[in-house]
Amino acid sequence: MSQPFIKVENVSYSYDEEINLIPAVSGVSLEIEEGSYVAFAGRNGSGKSTFAKLLNMILEPSDGKIYISGKEIDVNAMTDAELMETRRNIGMVFQNPDNQLVATIVEDDVAFGPENLGVPSDEIRRRVDDALKTVGMSEYAKSEPQRLSGGQKQRIAIAGIIAMMPKCIIFDESTAMLDPSGRREVVDMMEKLNREYGITIITITHYMDEAVRADRVIVMDGGRVVMDGTPEQVYAEPEKIRAAGLELPQCAELVCRLREKGIKLDGCCITPESCAELICRALEVTSNE
């Protein structure tokens, strides 16, 4: 068996141990396979964003170890080149689209990462064009970022990460400030990058309907992992989701309530379509029995 892409061993982190006695992340252990699509869900302050920052070495764990491709990451023990290589491999897209674009022209911004890596000029040109094509923003190459919509800005930020050819991209609440169409643009992009390009996607969100598009959902609360499984498995325990301060999408909520009232609904419901099927089947069973 191959080693996991990311391995986290008993990791804890506290922002300020004097003031905050409760650590933001406490004793988390998990493994993430290369090429998987994982969502971390949780309320504000559940430790999900802190955890993401630990993976990308923006923060250093107070305790525990993190391995990426089998190598322990430790800022103090790593050479600059190793540090850059790790950062290159794990890209990060942040919440506020305005605060992560550096240049005044879209293509210059996408080129920023590869330029830092010292990639030769013609290679940068190729990567920038490819990255913009991947996110569907080629026609905006010469535009100014401030004229774009929130969703478009996030796609530029994603292009800037793709141009660095990472193995993994972490989306740290990248949809929180977007309108529904912008959110759809970004989530569709995550799916595309995972399915078509095999990039490992880690997304952090408090929207359950977004989390269930992943292959695996990890729910965090109070700095700990409280649920971990496929979307179906996670949805099967609605009380736990609610206890973690999250909300079920309305259809799932409805199915739950009906079950609580003693109606037998077999199967899992994630979309309105699957929910409708579920109810229809149950109605037929009820009338045919």
Binding site: N56, I58, D80, M84, R87, R88, G91, M92, F94, N96, D98, N99, Q100, L101, V102, A103, T104, I105, E107, D108, A111, F112, G113, P114, E115, N116, L117, G118, V119, P120, S121, I124, R125, V128, K142, E144, P145, Q146, R147, G160, I161, M164
Partner: protein, 276 residues
Amino acid sequence: MKSISLGQYYASGSILHKLDPRTKVLLGMLYIVCTFLCKNIIAFGLLFLSGILLIAIAKIPFKIILRSLRPIIFIMLFTVVINVFWTTGDRLLFSWSFINIYAEGLYNALFMAIRIIMLITGTSLFLTYTTTPIQLTDAIERLLAPLKRIKVPVHEFSMMMTIALRFVPTLIDETERIMSAQKARGADFSNGSLVKRAKALIPILVPLFVSAFRRADELATAMECRCYHGGEGRTKMTVTRMQGSDITALFAMIVFGTVIVLINYYAAKYGIGYTM
């Protein structure tokens, strides 16, 4: 507010746009020197023609040039009036009470007007209409590169410029938003004494600074995640090289300067036209 585009870059894809930005910085500087070299009416005429020619080469609509001159109308009128009324000379044209207008005054006024117009038009043609702010900071960084040897932080300076340019529109938007928000809470920015008005700025400045720091912090993290580690070992996507056209342009500008100096000299020597 979104309509404000910084640096007024006008993409017409002319030859001037394609020149190396470093060349354009040098051309701009030389052109400024040329405007100050002019002393004779023929030289000024030539300067004026060169301006028209440059606008044609850059393919910038005349309307846009005229609009950019609007803010300096006042300064221009002021210098014209000063020159008309305060220059003394030999050829008195008009005299009434204490007002004496000499032909020299009229000439000088005309010269100063042309000089100011050409100063603005020339520099903006080279530096803003045909060069993006990023290209400009890039060019300055590369022209100043030799200073790195004496530990001048040239790269850091140009990075700062780039980021500043990127965030000016964002912060203008933000200021407007905060102002609206505080107006909705009854803040009054336009009435009262100076002290009162200065105090009224606190509800705008505090949130603006808080937000600027937050943005700076987030941007720094984002840059670090994109492997930014200073100027060392950095490459560039677009590397412009000085080409034949750059050399030609610089050469043409030097010839132009020389011609102006020669005109000044011979016109003064043989008394052709008016010389300042």
